[in-house]
């Protein structure tokens, strides 16, 4: 382990490595999250670079626990590492308290690991922004975790390639009294807006959690129904 830091301040007071990490995120496939009154939905692009790839083997929404899941924009392998870390954090909490972990708590603890990568010697920051969606005792939550370790709670947001346009679209469409079904439709509409090519049930992934505290990744058949409703 080297003990000089890779991430150091520029004269303007910026951490360029984090800016560059955000650039990597901005090149990633778009992911959208919307928090409704009674649930949260995550929708993410799953565009494959070749038709030879097994679409079903790629999973972009990962479960952290029964009631919390996450997706990302940026470097897939970095997300995999953070997912594994998050799952361990949830289990550790569960062993100690035998209670469902709050989304905010998980976000805060995971953010600790992300921040460490911006300050410890010899390692680079994570190249992903993560959207964490969950339903706990406090209600529905949507949290964005950035490569800097900063995390923000959102009502609705987007990350990745189409983030700017998608957020503008969401600002017009979102309202606080939205129910989860409306939110799912809105999320799909938002993704469709900036989608390159034809949107199909297998080149996107949709995950939903309702007030039963169980996160479900929708099978392509259900996604097909929602997409047809949009027509």
């Amino acid at each position: 382990m080297t003990d000089f830091a890779l991430t150091t301040f520029s004269s303007k007071g910026k951490l360029l490595q984090i800016e560059y990490a955000l650039n990597a995120v901005a090149k990633g496939d778009t992911a959208i999250g919307i928090k409704a009154k009674n649930g949260v939905v995550l929708v993410v692009e799953k565009k494959q670079t070749s038709i030879l790839i097994e679409e079903q083997s790629v999973q972009k929404i990962s479960l952290m626990s029964d009631n919390i899941a996450a997706t990302y924009a940026g470097l897939g392998p970095d997300f995999r590492v953070l997912s594994q870390q998050a799952r361990k954090l949830v289990k550790k909490y569960d062993l100690k308290y035998q209670e469902e972990m709050f989304v905010q708590t998980l976000s805060r603890e995971l953010a600790e690991d992300v921040q460490v990568a911006t300050q410890r010697g010899g390692i680079r920051p994570f190249g992903v922004s993560i959207l964490i969606a969950g339903y706990d005792e406090e209600g529905p939550h949507l949290v964005q975790l950035d490569p800097s370790g900063a995390y923000y709670s959102w009502k609705a947001t987007a990350i990745g390639k189409q983030a700017k346009n998608a957020k503008a679209f969401l600002e017009k469409r979102y309202n606080v009294d939205m129910e989860i079904e409306d939110a799912i439709n809105t999320a799909l509409l938002t993704l469709k807006e900036g989608f390159e090519g034809q949107i199909t049930p297998t080149n996107i992934e949709v995950g939903v959690i309702r007030d039963d505290h169980v996160f479900r990744i929708l099978p392509p058949s259900q996604v097909k129904d929602y997409l047809e409703e949009l027509e």
Binding site: L95, K96, Y97, Q98, E99, F102, T105, R108
Partner: protein, 204 residues
């Protein structure tokens, strides 16, 4: 050291009522056959709706309590909320098992009120939790107190009845045990308040 759980002596008991719960303890702090003080605290208020009673080696009673205080304070600061009694009960079990091969020589009882319902949990020294109904005991006079509890207990008692019954059970039990007694304290926890009553017992 033979009988490390008997070195200091002491007894505790917990009992469920109707939307209320009580714990009681004796007040003796001894060193084998000598009595050092008669006002040792063995029941601690962890939160407005959680009480922790401990029996066993007094130094571990104090240290384990301090550890639980620290845990709940950090939890309050980190999570920005109060801890549920069932959560605290699980925390105690984890904390005890963490020291599986160098345990705290205590047998705790956790008493709490969650959404009006009484919560009672008891453990061995390495964190085996049991949350059975009615009543639980701990300490050197435990078995004697069990007998008295079985005789006096009935389900769904009011706070006043509960205070009387748990007090009588504690006193009867401790009177039989040489290492427990020298006074008793009864704590009754309801939605509105915690009442504390100091009992006068045989001073032997």
């Amino acid at each position: 050291m033979s009988g490390i759980f008997e070195y200091n002596g002491g007894s505790i008991v917990g009992m469920k009522g109707k939307n209320c719960i009580a714990v009681a303890c004796d007040r003796r702090f001894g060193q084998q056959m000598s009595t050092i003080t008669t006002n040792y605290q063995k029941v601690f208020k962890i939160q407005d709706n959680i009480l922790l009673a401990l029996s066993g080696l007094n130094t571990d009673i104090h240290t384990f309590y301090a550890l639980m205080e620290k845990e709940i304070n950090l939890y309050n600061l980190k999570e920005n909320r109060k801890m549920k009694p069932t959560t605290f009960a699980n925390l105690v079990a984890s904390a005890l098992y963490e020291r599986r091969f160098g345990p705290f020589f205590v047998t705790p009882i956790v008493a709490g009120l969650e959404n009006g319902k009484p919560i009672l949990a008891t453990y061995d020294s390495i964190g085996c939790k049991s949350d059975l109904d009615d009543f639980q005991v701990g300490g050197t006079g435990g078995n004697y107190i069990y007998g008295a509890c079985e005789a006096f207990f009935k389900p769904d008692m009011s706070p006043e009845e509960l205070e009387e019954v748990i007090g009588q059970s504690l006193v009867s039990g401790c009177d039989r045990d040489a290492l427990s007694g020298w006074g008793g304290v009864v704590y009754v926890l309801t939605e509105q308040k915690i009442t504390v009553k100091i009992l006068k017992t045989k001073q032997t």
